[in-house]
Amino acid sequence: MNRTLNKRLPDDLLRPLFHTSVWFYALVAALGSVVLAGLSAYAYQVYNGIGVTGDNWPVFWGFHETNFVFWIGISHAGTLISAILRLVNATWRRPVTRCAEAITVFALMIGALFPIVHLGRPWLFFWLVPYPSAREIWPNFRSPLVWDFFAINTYLTGSLLFLLLPMIPDFALVRDRATGWRHRIYGALALGWQGTTKQWHRLESAMQIMAIAIIPVAVSVHTIVSFDFSMATVPMWHSTIFGPYFVAGAIFSGIAALIIAMALLRRFLHLEEYLHPVHFQNLGKLLLLMSLLWVYFVFAERLTVWYGNEPSEMAVFWATQRGAYAPLFWTMVICNFVIPFPILALRRLRTIPGTVVASLTVLVGMWLERFLIIVPSLAHKQIPYTWGSYSPRPVEIVMAVAAFAAMGLLYVLFAKFVPIVSIWELKVGDHPRPALTPVEKDEAAGLWRTQP
């Protein structure tokens, strides 16, 4: 065992928990102010009614739904990527997983708020919950909005547990090093963890099972979010590729968010020794793959619509290609493909600043993509005299900005109170690989043998 590593790892990674800089308070104050502004805007909307937003006939879904789809998409960064890397035993994942899983939980919490934010009477949000109501109308299981309830809650529960379980041994580590109130709080969070061989086995087995279970749940969540649209016969929504298209877009924006979060953590928590350029290189390659996949889906969808030449769909098609929404559409294409593709494809540019620039453009592009899926279709439904337009009002813009600030605030607080890199998993990564037994060597050689 590497004794130096055993001392250095906790010293480095627990530093933010025991030492607070003035920058932390400044950042919390700045982000908290924006969140407060968002809450005030929401209070204003609740008091005055949903009419203060830009939602109006025929576009009743605007910024709030865009934010809902965008943040649920961002949530695909963590648990899904972490689970896949855990299952394939990718060793480079070890410093990345917790940063990623935290994004999932916070993004889901923020995203899931927006359907409630958009309710005219938010105090009746529990009508979405399947319970036998006095109105004798049990929520209808054929409604995609009820599917959302089940999918988001399952994913949130699974992701929260997936994040919390591997934190227990690290809480025990903090408990043993802390004194006073910290010792008591982290002692309670550690749940009496001792680190017996049985506890380690059960934890690792549970994480393996959770990783297997969470992947299909993650895929299902964004598929079901896409069903909110594709189950309706609205032009350019009623599409069979919407499920995989949404999932690909979600993973795309999720990886971009993860890269930005990792770069900020590396810079401000001085984690240069743990978050290496190779991590950004590898995530950059994944981002490149998703960028290509995104272009493929956009092309497949657009070509099919254009070839079909259905008048109602062509109205939306042209509105986005060269009409009122064209500037947003082409900005989206530039942000999601034209800028990130060369940066991520050229090894020389796939540096930490390069991947961060690409990720920032992808986040802008993906937010626009969500907006362009929702608004132009609602503004150009089948009957031309129902056509309309949508412009966001300040109250929606403030809430959209506040959602980003809330994400930042939650993440800063998380990194302050929890080791942002899993210490015990990093230690395991430092173990020498065990020597293969003769049988294992034979099996490994067999993989490369060809049949005569």
């Binding site: 036998p132 049990w138 299981f141 749940l191 001792q194 017996t196 061989t197 380690w200």
Partner: protein, 165 residues
Amino acid sequence: MKAVYGLYADPDSAQRAVDALRAAGVANRDILVMSSEPFEEYEFSHRDKATWLHWIAGAGGASGFTVGYFLTSITEQLWPIKTSGMPIVAGWPNAVVIFELTMLGAILATVITLFITAKLPNRGPRLYDPEVSDGYILVGVDNPPDAARLEAALAIDGARVKTTS
């Protein structure tokens, strides 16, 4: 709590201590090993490997499936709502809810089983030494019948042997 244990700086020494305790007649199930990280490469960490966790997760999934199936189909029969020409008990949409509850069942069963079998949360008196968090590996025995003899067995590779009473 009466116990005797040694703190070892590396897993090789811990493995030798476990072997020494066995040689001293201590049953495998009575030997406690604690560390701040799992050591899959060593035999001592494989003693508690047998688990029903996978099967229990499967059973949890089956329970979730059953709950999902009855929640959707019974509800739809008790509160029949005609929707868009679909049958009252509509299999395709119900499959979405059933799938989510199946996975939720598997996840919850896994976590509950983890807590029960790993004895978490554990607030009672138990053998532990905070030096485990500094990277030392604890090898010891709870309520040893002959503490002096086990102390001798544990005193290898420069280990610090401690006795609690």
